[in-house]
């Protein structure tokens, strides 16, 4: 089945970090996972060896994705086979994210973040 083509004039991207992908062209299967312990401390205090994912259940609990049980038969007609985009301006792409120009088939992405706030008592 003929697929569409993405035609992009200009892409400007400032930063692409931490296991992120800038894909130009088609792909078939995308699978991404990222997890983080986000600590906000009121005082600039950094330790070298800190944080253990095993201590927090959020990183191991199941994350149910609702299965698609209904049979969907989809038919597609690409009368105009182009996806035209003039200008794309992205400042940051981070933590296993994907900027994808082109077609793909199956994408599964998951992220788990544990937030911790540490405030100093003297008020």
């Amino acid at each position: 089945m003929l697929q569409r083509t993405a035609s992009v004039n200009n892409v400007e991207m400032d930063s692409l970090a931490i296991a992120s992908v800038f894909q130009i062209g088609d792909s078939n299967l995308i699978q991404g996972f990222s997890r983080a312990i986000a600590v906000q401390r009121e005082v600039e205090l950094f330790f070298d060896n800190e944080g253990n994912f095993a201590n927090y259940p959020i990183f191991s609990e199941p994350l149910p994705l609702i299965p698609i049980s209904e049979t969907i038969n989809m038919s597609r007609q690409n009368i105009n086979p182009f996806i035209k985009v003039g200008n794309i301006d992205i400042i940051g792409v981070s933590s296993s994210s994907i900027v994808h120009l082109g077609n793909t088939n199956h994408v599964t992405l998951e992220t788990r973040v544990k937030h911790i706030r540490q405030l100093s008592p003297k008020k």
Partner: protein
């Protein structure tokens, strides 16, 4: 369910995005299935007001 798609003209002038972060997807193109899942938690006990105690270090076992 029958799902007929007729792709006619689609053309976007300018897109400005400040961030694509934590397992996000910015797709210009077609896809068959996309499954995105995210979970985060900030329970009351993760708001700590008191002396700064470093979090438990990474356990030795990998």
């Amino acid at each position: 369910m029958n799902f007929h798609v007729y792709n006619r003209d689609i053309s976007v002038g300018a897109i400005k995005v400040s961030a694509v972060a934590s397992s996000s997807l910015f797709l210009v193109g077609d896809a068959e299935t996309i499954q995105l899942a995210s979970t985060f938690d900030t329970p009351p006990e993760s708001l700590i007001i008191g002396p700064f105690v470093p979090l438990a270090p990474e356990s030795g076992s990998r």
